[in-house]
Subunit: 230 residues, 2 copies
Amino acid sequence: MAFDANNLPDVTGVTIAILGGTGDQGRGLGYRFAVAGHPVTIGSRTVARAEATAAELADLPGVAAPIRGMLNAPAAQQADIVIIALPWDGHADTLAELADDLAGKIVVDCVNPLGFDSRGPYALPVPEGSATQQAAALLPNSRVCGAFHHVSSVLLTDPAVAEIELDIMVLGEDREAVRVVQALAGQIPGCRGVHAGRLRNAPQVEAFTANLLVLNRRYKVHAGVRITQL
Amino acid sequence: MAFDANNLPDVTGVTIAILGGTGDQGRGLGYRFAVAGHPVTIGSRTVARAEATAAELADLPGVAAPIRGMLNAPAAQQADIVIIALPWDGHADTLAELADDLAGKIVVDCVNPLGFDSRGPYALPVPEGSATQQAAALLPNSRVCGAFHHVSSVLLTDPAVAEIELDIMVLGEDREAVRVVQALAGQIPGCRGVHAGRLRNAPQVEAFTANLLVLNRRYKVHAGVRITQL
């Protein structure tokens, strides 16, 4: 089977909630999905912050679908697909609280458990192996995938950036959900979603973000990853 | 500082030993370095196997420097740069035995600690974090870097493949040694060596090989990695 980005499910108009959507990664993804015509809900722990972020994003050029803000729980309930962009610090506790709201949903974890010290970024140890595996353990009734770990929030949120050259590694056990997330990745111009393995191979994808941040700092870029030969 | 492959040390004619050089990865790297004009020594636990591999490689098209075979210890002693391509199984024991032979050398570990089962490849847990960190712990008097983890041995050993499109992640603490290894990576046509971080960020680079193997199987390719924007 050759890689074929055209042979993926149609995700036109699918609604997306982004939990922790007021952070850099969440804002950037929310903006790009709204530009691609997906109704987006920014979820947060406080309504005011969620609404402020939603209003800010809705004012950016090219937005082609409504962007709303609400608390994480109702945001999760009303969306087709839910992206987890929470700070790693509150990841486990927040997901445990939201397990019922997320039941039956395709849940896409994009959290990178990283630490930073005087020597730069590094991967934090995660008892479950990765943030995505932690999500899968806490959300047994959701269809948990990992994706969008390496995309630069700076590029996502810059309306002047027309295309982001990046292959998005989608991790997951549920092939159908993985293919939906691959299709969703393709909604960002320049991006391709590739199925890079099962959840047990998520830790290194998340941790590799530390290497990209090292490269960003060293070479003054917003580095991404392309898989060659695909 | 922009990425500048030209601003790296001159490694013309540097001699290279490959320990465990009779395996696929070792053979492939040995071939490409000999094509690039580097005298190569294939190291093995048995002289006969080392010599047989060396003779086989020397017969391939384009080889521009001598390829010899010898035991791992003398191979290590006489080379400028030593590449560790041992099976993960014997990695720690063999390096512990060779610590004196490797003292003062630039040592480049390219070992991927991987397991395989019915569900495919996966990263093995490593007490030190990674093969490269294990090497650094066992070889305190060597200048240990990690590199060449993702390069496909199939592409390396195929004389019909003129260029291998790949960015080689070089990990290390010793900036000067890292730059030498970056230059060495650039000796393989199509490859660039990039400094992707300190040794503590090696685990995910090694483990990511499992994701590439998943992609290889799924999409029938020999996948590599390019860092975008560099």
